[in-house]
């Protein structure tokens, strides 16, 4: 069968795989942002022990490969009695790792805000909450966006790791099709086209969004 015919035949399966990849990305992103927020709160907060735990967590989870985290979430936790379905093991592993990155991005975003800004807001009589909400966070967000969106496109690529635990994402579909057709290059190229098209689309959208946010404020 010609490559194009094959592509036509397998495209629906690949797109179904892409949907799984995107669901995984979305769920892992939510977990990572929540965890990142907690890590920032813990690290900037007053409770020493929490700050130390958060710092330790970041050090360790940044140094361990995602695949090891994934196998831990899938196999090790099961052995210890917590049996996660593959999809959720993927969410936990990716969220646990990307949470450290997002936490760091948020922290440097907050640190990038000039202390004079806080001072000026406080001098106006704004409450602590209002200082954060109206003055610090809007500026920190702007600084957070570029690394944050970069992290997101890495996250999408890393979802492909769940192939190893049998989650039927895009990479899994490609691998299955490669084995079934004996034309691995054709199938992996199709997967590449889908991933790449999505990558380009997403990075364009995110870049435009970033530009918009920046332009609205200058």
């Amino acid at each position: 069968m010609s490559t194009l015919q094959l592509w036509g035949q397998y495209l629906p399966q690949f797109l179904a795989g892409l949907v799984v990849s995107l669901q995984l990305t979305g769920a892992a992103l939510v977990l990572a942002l929540a965890l990142g927020t907690l890590l920032v709160l813990a690290r900037t907060g007053r409770i020493r022990i929490l700050a130390a735990i958060a710092t330790g967590y970041v050090e360790v989870f940044r140094a361990v490969p995602v695949l090891v985290l994934l196998f831990t979430a899938y196999y090790s936790l099961a052995q210890l009695g917590l049996r996660l379905p593959g999809f959720w093991a993927g969410v936990v592993a990716l969220g646990a790792f990307y949470g450290t990155l997002y936490g760091e991005d948020m922290r440097s975003g907050l640190q990038s805000v000039d202390p004079g800004q806080r001072e000026a807001a406080v001098a106006l009589g704004l409450s602590n909450g209002a200082v954060m909400r109206r003055v610090v966070l809007p500026q920190a967000f702007l600084a957070f966006l570029p690394p944050g969106t970069n992290e997101l496109s890495n996250l999408i690529k890393d979802t492909s790791l769940v192939l190893t635990i049998g989650v039927t994402d895009l990479m899994f579909q490609a691998n299955a099709a490669a084995a079934a057709t004996f034309q691995p290059m054709d199938m992996f190229l199709l997967a590449g086209v889908v991933y790449f098209a999505f990558y380009i689309l997403l990075s364009r959208i995110l870049a435009r969004w970033e530009l918009n946010v920046q332009r609205r404020r200058s």
Partner: protein, 214 residues
């Protein structure tokens, strides 16, 4: 506990394989990366454009897919690479894609004034690069180079998929023999932790040492 004692040596052997591959791949990709970065900045539209596209592809495709294209994909054209060569080739191709960007950013971070000063002295472009720009860029690039090194160590985890006997391969082998994944992947995690934390320590020591010269 005897499981740990039994398999620790295998994990250490796997770590050796990982480090060997990382070292070779990083060395090659640094050299090629510098050349490609220079090509991207000074190489004109065609060369610069080609390098940009290459970088985008490496950054846009999932690592697993890249590895599978090299190992399984090429076999469709009767190019059957050994596990080791496929793994190494991928680490190099991937590494070059990252190193280009690191060196480009480093070179461009050196101020235009420095480049002008080098031109004004009558240095050739290669001389300016070697004597003026790269020594300054080094400081800027050091953190990202260390991140890159750690990233490559982590990337070696994928190599078990093509049958290279790295840490992950050993941990999986151990798991199927003992049915103790918690211990096996725990050992793997510790092994990576030791390697990567050591690398980051070396990196921050170097940074501090470099900062003294400024």
């Amino acid at each position: 506990m005897h499981v740990v004692a039994l398999y620790w040596q295998a994990i250490v052997d796997g770590g050796g394989v990982d480090l060997e591959l990382t070292a070779i791949a990083v060395a090659v990709s640094v050299v090629v990366g510098i050349l490609a970065a220079v090509g991207r900045i000074y190489g004109g539209k065609l060369l610069g454009g080609a390098i940009t596209v290459y970088v985008e592809i490496i950054r846009g495709l999932p690592p697993i897919l890249q590895l599978f294209i090299i190992y399984f994909g090429l076999s469709q054209f009767q190019i059957n690479l050994s596990s080791f060569s496929a793994g190494l080739l991928w680490l190099v191709l991937y590494g070059v894609g990252y190193a280009v960007e690191i060196f480009r950013a480093g070179i461009e971070a050196v101020s235009v004034g420095q480049r002008e000063a080098a031109d004004a002295l009558g240095l050739t472009r290669v001389q300016a690069l070697r004597k003026i720009i790269l020594p300054q860029a080094w400081m800027v690039m050091l953190p990202s180079l260390m991140t890159f090194l750690v990233l490559q160590v982590k990337n070696t985890t994928l190599l078990y998929l093509v049958g290279i006997a790295d840490i992950m391969y050993q941990a999986r082998l151990g798991t199927s023999a003992t049915e103790q994944p918690a211990i096996m992947y725990g050992m793997a995690a510790i092994a990576y932790l030791i390697i990567n934390l050591t690398l980051s320590r070396i990196g921050s020591t170097l940074e501090r040492r470099q900062a003294l010269y400024r």
